[in-house]
């Protein structure tokens, strides 16, 4: 939905957005995927340290 707003010029104009060139798209995509890498590393570290935990339920 977000991308649609940018790539359709008429809608982009309403939201005061401009078309992005290839380099700008690449920067944007790289930045957007940084959390994926960080969280994947965090998940891996958690798995090594505790087994499988993020939403951990404690035993009563």
């Amino acid at each position: 939905m977000q991308v649609t707003v940018v790539i359709i010029p008429q809608i982009a104009g309403i939201f005061k957005l401009v078309p992005l060139n290839k380099a700008q798209w690449i920067y944007t995509i790289i930045i957007s995927f940084i959390p994926l890498i960080i969280v994947e590393i965090q998940k891996k570290l958690n798995e090594i340290k505790f087994g499988k935990v993020i939403y951990k339920h404690e035993c009563q």
Binding site: L17, V18, L20, S32, P35, K43, K52, K56
Partner: protein, 798 residues
């Protein structure tokens, strides 16, 4: 006034017949004339009203004011730029449409649930007894009432047997009233003294009766008491209450931040109108006003899914409690077992199994019917087991009776513990006796070895007794079969019998229960068997199912009575089987488990189970064999009475809770991301990284859909490998708040990075576009990160 009339007068007045009931045509006519037998619903809101109500929100009102201010400023400065205000209005309208659609979806799910859980009534129509929805009952219908039923409408009694009705909902009197159809009363007697009448929504606590329906729907006594109209609105669940509190706190915090940002903006000489719009946009972006709506949608769609899997949630908060269940107390018969005796072992001293079954099946009072194209017996469960075992070997009792006509019998009685049937076999007669092995064996002098009758020696008797004991140790119900040839069918003595064999039978566990118990153990849930059956049988089944293991204990109701409550509470976790228990014992058991901090799910079916069901954290009533009273007291109804369904419901309950946590995690962290973007942009002296309308679009349109998707995630494959969550723990426990703040800050800082990069290299418009696209994509990536505890590259749901 019907209490002043004799039964025949009522019958004539309603043009009905007490022995055959109304006919179908008449029922249709009366349905048209009297309408449905239900209390008037609260007037439903129209779509338009629902749409208008979407604007009754503090943030939405601020947005509308902001759009008006924007339009006024555009008019005053002569720029004529009304785009901002138009977009704000468009977004607000779009948001309202989405709200109406989501609300309608949630409402539809809950309506469907109400439909499934609707009460039923037994009536006589066209000479047949049928079960119909209570709302289909019409005046003149003959209703059949029994203990545990709700009375579906006001009715004049025509036949009673020890009928006692609890009328507290009408009279406030909790003691049940003994009813009598034969009395004719004065016109002015109060409702509590109308002994020949029963009233809608009262509970039959004892006996059974038949009655002619006199009033239905809003014409009933209960219908006339306006205050008694049942409130349709579902109560708020603990999560919803918690979120309302969190929402308020976050809202205030956000408003403070917005005011701060506005002040900083003014200090930095940013035009006040631009700064006002940014602050408003940010306030709307930051306040997670969509949270309660999303939780309601997730809960309502979740319970609809559960209903499709035979667990009907009656009280919405039960969904959350289910996920935290740590003890499941289940009835044995019908829930853990099939409630159907089956022959599982036979023993003879040389006779073939066919011979034992042939004689066994002839010595029964079972009827044979064709069900689903298959012959099957109906009657006393033990006898049915023998007849069905015989049918499986193509031995049909009815065919045998054609060859060996039954001419006489001595019925079973509990003193003799035997029954005998006498058959004409050609020119002679044969008497067949079946009964308790210890009694029957004493009556035998010979045994049949497959070919001939031989004398029953001490050695053979010992052998038979040993096998009988082995079967009993396996908790089998054992029946011995013997016969005798005779010439005098009128004078039968149950003596000098010829022993043929033993038949061992049991009510076997239901399919999948053993696996479900194992699943519960892995999930940290203790399964407890509670039964009225004998302790030997209970222990055998419990061992077979894995409920009773080496260090677990079994106890009877009588032993339980001698244990003080404080000692029981201390030792309760040692017990896994409670046999011969009464409904009162169930309440003690529930309370004892709860005293350890456990969240207890308890099954029940009878009227007397209601206190235990109410006391349990999750009361579960049986849909097939449960009484209306038990169903009403329960939080959940099992449509198939199956233990496996309870475990499935716990799994779904855990999933719904996890999904709600995921949706909350996503929504609050992305909102924080948006605040950080704007706030840090201003602090670092940058131009506003996102305009108000851009923020609004992201928050009101693009945030909600991933949050709903997270809320509807399928069950994670590891969900039953975790221990139950601690019911005292907060929704935000296990570091959820810190995770939300860290991830939110990361989203905000990365959006700011995208803006700075674009702004520095290509100018402010490209910077804002890059920030806008990045924020949207970051939210999407964040949604995938939250989706599973495992790497998204290997996460699999089941």
């Amino acid at each position: 006034m019907w209490h002043t009339k004799a039964i025949n007068e009522v019958e004539v007045n309603f043009r009905t017949n007490v022995s055959s009931g109304l006919d179908s045509n008449e029922v249709e006519e009366r349905k048209k004339h009297f309408g449905e037998n239900k209390l008037a619903d609260k007037k439903k809101e129209s779509i338009f009203i629902k749409f208008i109500k979407q604007f009754n929100d503090f943030m939405i009102i601020i947005l509308i004011i902001a759009s008006i201010i924007s339009a006024v400023v555009a008019k005053m400065d002569g720029s004529g730029d009304y785009i901002d205000s138009a977009i704000i209005i468009a977004i607000v309208v779009l948001n309202a449409i989405m709200g109406v659609v989501q609300e309608a979806k949630a409402e539809k799910s809950l309506e469907a649930l109400k439909e499934i859980a609707a009460p039923v009534a037994k009536v006589r129509r066209d000479g047949k007894i049928i079960t119909i929805k209570a709302e289909e009952v019409v005046p003149g219908d003959i209703v059949l009432l029994e203990a545990g039923n709700y009375v579906p409408a006001d009715a004049r009694l025509i036949k009673t047997s020890n009928l006692k009705v609890e009328e507290a909902s009408l009279t406030g009197e909790t003691l049940p009233v003994l009813k009598d159809e034969n009395v004719i009363l004065d016109k002015d007697v109060p409702i509590g003294d109308m002994l020949n009448m029963v009233f809608s929504s009262c509970i039959v606590v004892n006996g059974h009766a038949e009655a002619v329906v006199t009033e239905t729907g809003m014409n009933t006594k209960v219908g006339k008491i306006a205050n008694m109209i049942i409130e349709d609105k579902a109560p708020e669940t603990p999560i919803q209450k918690k979120l309302a509190e969190v929402g308020k706190t976050l809202g205030i915090a956000c408003l403070v931040i917005c005011i701060l940002i506005f002040a900083i903006g003014l200090f930095k000489k940013i035009p006040p109108v631009e700064m006002f719009m940014t602050s408003v946009g940010l306030a709307v972006a930051a306040i997670p006003e969509g949270l309660p709506a999303i939780v309601t949608i997730v809960l309502s769609i979740g319970v609809t899914k559960m209903a499709k899997k035979s667990s009907i949630i009656r009280k919405l908060p039960a969904v959350e409690t289910l996920g935290g269940a740590s003890v499941i107390c289940s009835d044995k018969t019908g829930t853990l077992t099939q409630n159907k005796m089956q022959v599982v072992q036979m023993y003879s001293v040389g006779s073939k199994e066919e011979k034992i079954l042939e004689l066994g099946t002839m010595c029964t009072d079972v009827n044979i019917e064709t069900k689903n194209g298959k012959l099957t017996g109906t009657g006393e469960p033990t006898e049915v087991a023998i007849v069905n075992a015989a049918l499986e070997k193509n031995i049909n009792k009815l065919e045998l009776y054609k060859l060996k006509t039954r001419v006489n019998d001595i019925p079973f009685d509990s003193t003799r513990k035997m029954m005998t049937t006498i058959h004409k076999d050609g020119h002679e007669y044969i008497s067949i006796t079946k009964g308790a092995p210890d009694i029957l064996l004493k009556k035998c002098t010979k045994y049949f070895d497959g070919n001939t009758e031989l004398t029953l020696s001490t050695n053979i008797i010992e052998k038979i007794e040993q096998n009988n004991n082995k079967m009993a140790e396996r908790a089998l119900r054992v029946i011995a079969v013997a016969y005798k040839k005779t010439n005098d069918p009128a004078n039968i003595q149950e003596e000098d019998l010829v022993f043929v064999g033993l038949i061992g039978m049991i009510d076997p566990p239901r399919k999948g229960v053993k696996e479900a118990v194992a699943t519960c153990r892995k999930a940290g849930i203790k399964t407890v068997m509670i039964t009225g059956d004998h302790i030997t049988t209970a222990k055998a089944i419990a061992k077979d199912l894995g409920i009773l293991r080496t260090y677990d204990l079994a106890i009877t109701g009588a032993e339980l009575k001698n244990i003080p409550q404080n000692i029981l509470e201390k030792d309760i976790m040692k017990y896994s089987v409670f046999a011969r228990v009464s409904p009162e014992d169930k309440v003690r058991i529930v309370k004892a488990y709860q005293s350890t901090g456990a969240v207890v799910a308890m099954t029940g079916d009878g009227v007397n189970d209601s206190p235990a069901l109410k006391n349990a954290n999750i009361g579960i009533a049986m849909g097939k064999n449960g009484t209306d009273v038990a169903k009403n007291a329960a939080d959940m109804v099992l449509a198939d009475d199956n233990f496996v369904t309870i475990v499935e419901a716990v799994k779904q309950g855990r999933n719904i809770y996890d999904n709600i946590r995921k949706a909350i995690h996503f929504l609050i962290s992305t909102n924080i991301g948006e605040i950080v973007t704007i706030f840090m942009g201003l602090v670092l002296g940058l131009k506003s990284p996102l305009l108000a309308i851009q923020l609004l679009w992201i928050n009101l349109v693009t945030d909600s859909l991933p949050a709903i998707a997270l809320g509807l995630e399928p069950v994670d494959k590891d969900i039953m490998n975790k221990k139950p969550r601690d019911s005292k723990k907060s929704l935000f426990a296990d570091g959820l708040w810190s995770k939300i703040f860290i991830e939110g800050t990361m989203i905000g800082m990365l959006t700011l990075l995208a803006f700075s990069l674009g702004n520095n290299l290509y100018g402010v418009e490209v910077g804002r576009t890059m920030a806008f696209v990045s924020l949207g994509m970051l939210e999407l990536v964040h949604c995938f990160n939250i989706k599973s505890e495992e790497s998204i590259f290997k996460a699999r749901n089941i």
